[in-house]
């Protein structure tokens, strides 16, 4: 029998779609159980309780049928977003989620093969309807997960940014800026802008930047520091950099960063003392003070 192209016109596609929906609804329990078994076998359900497995799998199953039936993916989108939020919060791996969805896709597919194995034409038409839907749902869920991860990363970056570095006045006209953590281009920019504003606001003449808390200093970080120093100098302030660890100084010299523009002193105390000298302060004990009198 030669199949006419019209045979799979819009009307029969709709009919077949209904048939698929009925099929999946009818076999709901059976297929869902199969799915859960396969996921358990692959270890994809680790960390979930029995009730959670039951409700989650039922919801996902019904959502997929809903999408197949209506051709609308709003439900899948909403569900994927909430799933991703919970999944990321609970530390579910992407492998668990994506693996789970792939397994469901296989279970559905397999059941279609079983049902239409005697009629290849119908099977191929059924797959034509089913596969785009399955792929779409899979990509919706995967994207929701990636979005959620990125959102978490962004939130953490914001949080780090908010713990921004304080610029503190130690004495008249002397500021210190203790930097903790990694310096990237963006943070360097923010630090510099903040320092320059503080120099203006406090009428500072000397600034001590302490980098004891900066774990790695590479040529980029060093250049950022040099830029900070130069910008401060344009505003008439001298910058002293303190707290370069042995490793940091070794790396800097080895990679050949020119630090001749940097005024460096061993530690914060030394830096403040050097700043005092520049400003004409001298710290003495009260005993020494009475002697002078």
């Amino acid at each position: 029998m030669v199949t006419q192209p019209e045979e799979w016109g819009a009307r029969s596609v709709a009919a077949l779609r209904r048939e698929l929906v009925e099929h999946f609804t009818e076999k709901r329990e059976e297929l869902r159980q199969q799915w859960v078994e396969q996921m358990t076998a692959k270890g994809l359900l680790a960390g979930l309780t029995q009730t959670e497995i039951e409700t989650e799998s039922a919801t996902i199953y019904d959502t997929c049928i809903g999408c197949l039936e209506t051709g609308q993916y709003d439900r899948a989108q909403t569900y994927a977003t909430t799933l991703a939020e919970r999944g990321v919060l609970r530390g579910m791996t992407s492998e668990q989620i994506i693996g789970g969805m792939l397994t469901l896709r296989d279970v559905y597919g397999r059941s279609l093969f079983e049902r239409y194995q005697k009629d290849m034409k119908r099977l191929s038409a059924a797959l034509d309807i089913y596969e785009p839907v399955a792929n779409k749902i899979l990509s919706i869920i995967a994207l929701a997960f990636i979005d959620e991860r990125e959102k978490v990363v962004r939130q953490q970056q914001e949080a780090i940014r908010e713990i921004s570095t304080p610029v503190l006045q130690v004495r008249n006209r002397l500021l210190i800026m203790p930097i903790i953590g990694l310096i990237d281009a963006q943070r360097a920019r923010q630090l510099t802008e903040q320092l320059l504003r503080s120099i203006r606001a406090n009428r500072a003449k000397v600034v001590v930047i302490d980098i004891t808390g900066v774990p790695t200093v590479d040529s980029k970080v060093a250049n950022n520091l040099i830029q900070t120093v130069e910008a401060s100098r344009l505003m008439g302030a001298v910058v002293i950099v303190t707290g370069l660890s042995a490793e940091v100084s070794q790396t800097l010299v080895t990679i050949g960063v020119d630090l001749s523009k940097l005024n460096t002193v061993g530690d914060l105390q030394g830096g403040i003392e050097a700043a005092d000298r520049l400003l004409g302060y001298k710290v003495i004990t009260t005993e020494q003070a009475t002697e002078i009198r």
């Binding site: 003449k205 830029q227 130069e230 910008a231 401060s232 344009l234 505003m235 008439g236």
Partner: protein, 120 residues
């Protein structure tokens, strides 16, 4: 916009009050170099507080003004560079040319610096 040149004791003060064209910068330079000799000034202060932008021409002119006045016996200090201006100059790599020019926070500091240079 012409920059007024004010005599204050041994020093000359050039307060820039708005954005300047290249020609204005050059005219300021000429007048400063000229006046330094005429008035036997020991120091020059160029106040750039009002400038929102310093381009390469401006920095180059300021630097050469400093070098020229030094040859005629007066130290030049640039004062009032705004934080944003300082930052963008560094970003644009314009500071390299400013290395041998003195800078101070504001007019007050500039005067104090010149006092130390000339009287100390």
């Amino acid at each position: 916009m012409r920059v007024p040149i004010l005599k204050q004791g041994d020093y000359l003060i050039a307060p820039i009050q708005s954005a300047l064209s290249d020609a204005d910068f050059l005219r300021m330079q000429n007048e400063l170099v000229d006046q330094v000799g005429k008035l036997r000034s020991r120091g020059v202060i160029v106040d750039v507080t009002a400038l929102d932008v310093m381009d390469s021409f401006a920095t180059r002119t300021l630097r050469s003004t400093a070098l020229m006045t030094r040859l005629r016996g007066a130290e030049t200090v640039i004062v009032g560079v705004q934080p944003e201006v300082a930052f963008s100059m560094v970003q644009l790599g314009l500071t390299l040319r400013m290395e041998d020019v003195e800078t101070a926070l504001d007019l007050d500091e500039g005067l104090a610096f010149l006092d130390r240079q000339t009287k100390g």
